[in-house]
């Protein structure tokens, strides 16, 4: 069973909030966080190359 039915108005409100919270975090917060972390890492490496290490060597 994926979801339980809500009966009272309080339960309906709580269920709605659970759904909204899940949707917001799955669709907005998590992707933004992932892009932010990757961009941040890229920026740090770029700055490191610019001021400390120079271009990457192999």
């Amino acid at each position: 069973m994926i979801q339980l039915p809500a009966h009272s108005p309080e339960e309906k409100q709580r269920k709605l909030e659970e759904w909204r919270t899940w949707l917001f975090f799955t669709v907005v917060v998590a992707p933004l966080l992932a892009v932010g972390i990757v961009s941040g890492w890229g920026f740090v490496v770029w700055m490191w190359q610019t001021f400390v290490s120079g271009p990457p060597t192999y």
């Binding site: 979801q3 899940w22 990757v38 770029w46 120079g54």
Partner: protein, 196 residues
């Protein structure tokens, strides 16, 4: 407003009452797959020739110059597009390069090389950066396709074979050379090298 935030914070940090663990994990997993796909699609799109040449700075200068060269059109139909040589393939360095491109957006907004004259005036600095980069990584972007071990010296001109068999046989640290030391200006025209 504070109340609303507090309520949603509580919803976030307590176990779900109405949605099953299965739905939440699988749903989150599917969301992750969709995100990963979208992220890679965006990464690949920003690596395409069409994307690079969508700005006139690239389309009217360097893109025009590569077209008569062998890296653009040749008998076997393999093309080296912008990102093959100018975006590192290693993931971390690739992300760093993508962030570095924010400076190119800056330049685009403020028209740093918005005319042919401005581009020509700045081109030595820009080319110099790429030469320095390729010198540091032992011309990695050349070697992604051209492999020293696979070169048939009998199919090269005498001048080429002489140079490749000696200069490339040693590491740069041992007095050898790397591709870009000799092959500058092969895909785009050289900057004006006279002014020092």
């Amino acid at each position: 407003m504070r109340d609303l935030l507090r309520r949603y914070w509580r919803t976030l940090t307590t176990p779900s009452k109405f949605y099953s663990l299965g739905f939440l994990t699988i749903g989150g997993f599917i969301g992750g797959i969709v995100f990963w796909g979208g992220f890679n699609t965006a990464m690949e799109f920003t690596n395409t020739e069409a994307f690079c040449t969508s700005c006139h700075e690239m389309r009217d200068n360097v893109y025009q110059e590569i077209q008569p060269t062998i890296h653009f059109t040749n008998r076997s139909g393999v093309r080296a597009v912008c990102s093959d040589c100018h975006v590192p393939h290693d993931w971390t360095y690739k992300m760093a390069r993508k962030m570095q491109a924010s400076k190119e957006v800056w330049g685009w907004i403020f028209g740093t090389i918005s005319t042919r004259e401005k581009f020509l005036a700045k081109r030595k600095e820009l080319a110099g950066r790429e030469w320095e980069r390729m010198k540091a990584n032992d011309s990695l972007e050349c070697r992604n396709c051209h492999e020293y071990q696979a070169m048939d010296f009998t199919r090269q001109s005498k001048r080429g074979a002489d140079a490749h068999s000696t200069a490339l046989a040693k590491k740069v640290s041992e007095g050898g050379k790397t591709c870009i030391d000799c092959h500058k200006g092969i895909a785009h025209r050289l900057p004006d090298m006279s002014a020092q």
